[in-house]
Symmetry: C2
Amino acid sequence: MFQDNLYEAIKKKQNPTVLGLDPKIDYVPKSIISKTKSDVEAIEIFNRSLIDGLSDLIPAVKCQSAYYEQLGPDGALLLQKTMAYAKENGMLVILDCKRNDIGSTADAYANAYLTDDFYIADAITVNGYLGSDGIKPFLSACKEYGKGIYILVKTSNPSSGELQDLRLESGQRVYEKMAELVENWGSGLIGKYGFSSVGAVVGATYPEQLIELRKTMSHTPFLVPGYGAQGGKAKDVAKSFNKQGNGAIINSSRGLMCAYKKHQLLHEEFIKAARIEATQMKQALNQYITWEEL
Amino acid sequence: MFQDNLYEAIKKKQNPTVLGLDPKIDYVPKSIISKTKSDVEAIEIFNRSLIDGLSDLIPAVKCQSAYYEQLGPDGALLLQKTMAYAKENGMLVILDCKRNDIGSTADAYANAYLTDDFYIADAITVNGYLGSDGIKPFLSACKEYGKGIYILVKTSNPSSGELQDLRLESGQRVYEKMAELVENWGSGLIGKYGFSSVGAVVGATYPEQLIELRKTMSHTPFLVPGYGAQGGKAKDVAKSFNKQGNGAIINSSRGLMCAYKKHQLLHEEFIKAARIEATQMKQALNQYITWEEL
């Protein structure tokens, strides 16, 4: 099961970080740009270099589909190659594509990303606005192929509250209702470490909601964006883990990809910079985890 | 502006139908399968034949992205070719991809589908769960490139009410709040016929909600799925139009693509069957429209 595999990989590297590969061409160091002929080629080399340079430290990658889609059909090929390369290097692969549709169309998305036919993903992100009809096809695929999904619950952006924070007649907020639906959808996919392969996306930028959701979503693992560049800190996400270090994976994209800019290192030293940043992030998160045996 | 172009195309053909190109390989007639070497090739010919055979009757196509994505990177190329071919044949192109993300990632999706860089779309579908941060980048692209978006409000599936129908403390239901947000997001993009290039997806399977939303969303055009195979009828969608026949476009996918199965015609007569079905649908919708001059 996806979540068991993910936790074992996290525990082995004692690091619940996921490397976000959201390749904007502006992020790619000049040392790569100068040697390549196209954006697609430059990004491919940048992605491979980051995977080569960080796979001993970080257990998983998260590819943000939008940045590949904006490169057209060649971007689809680049995405396929990047995902396969991460997998070959022992990393788990999450595709952040926030797909959502109903019935046979949701089936088609599950076919696209959860079957290993073309794109090798361990899990994808999904938007639950359409209700169960839009989720069940993904649940079936998770069961059949040992995959996972993360459903948007409380997103990291400033305006996420416009809809998600509204209070329902029942007293729950919209995101709390979504959380309840997600916990139920995942109840048939709980693995040996107590967490389901149906997770929730919960932003690091809302630490109070994250703490509250950890209590109510006892079997739901979190994918947490918003760390670093968006303002989330280690103490903000600390409560998403249990003592065994299970319960969440924290994404950093810009923070790692563009570390060479922050540390004012030479462009060709982008891996050195990313390793400094990844090590600091690992240490910061490890303040809150004891990796106790179950 | 997208909605002005769409209405002019609808009026010219006196037909507010959009041809849904959701190509499952099971839909493709044997007469094509037997002459082609791969699913991608078979679907490409099927799509082109449907566009050739229906573009005099129907003003627009809607490509459902999932069915292309499940074919891998070759599917991305197939999508690109299908969209371009529909455009070359004078049809408007809607990409049904229900994309959603925030800030620079939503920007990347807008780059992917609203700039004509690779994929030639006039409009795409979007999911608004993330609030304004997830919509504004699309609004900017609509303004800059004369494009449109349709945001999910009340979807056609049986479980759409699990979240969308919940009543808020304010008295509004969740979909009514989304409708209010959509009407506001679209207020800067209203064209010369009174409708915005920011539309709403409203299912034909919920005629009461459709009537209610037409009243509250006075400037918002509807993209209406759920006609035909999902159970929606012409009288169910009648109220989404004004007397000029503006206000909505009604999608039919299976109904047209698989018409040859329904009419028990030979596989090679799939265009004949699709034209019978398209003409019946056009006539059924025209009972409720007078095409009055403005």
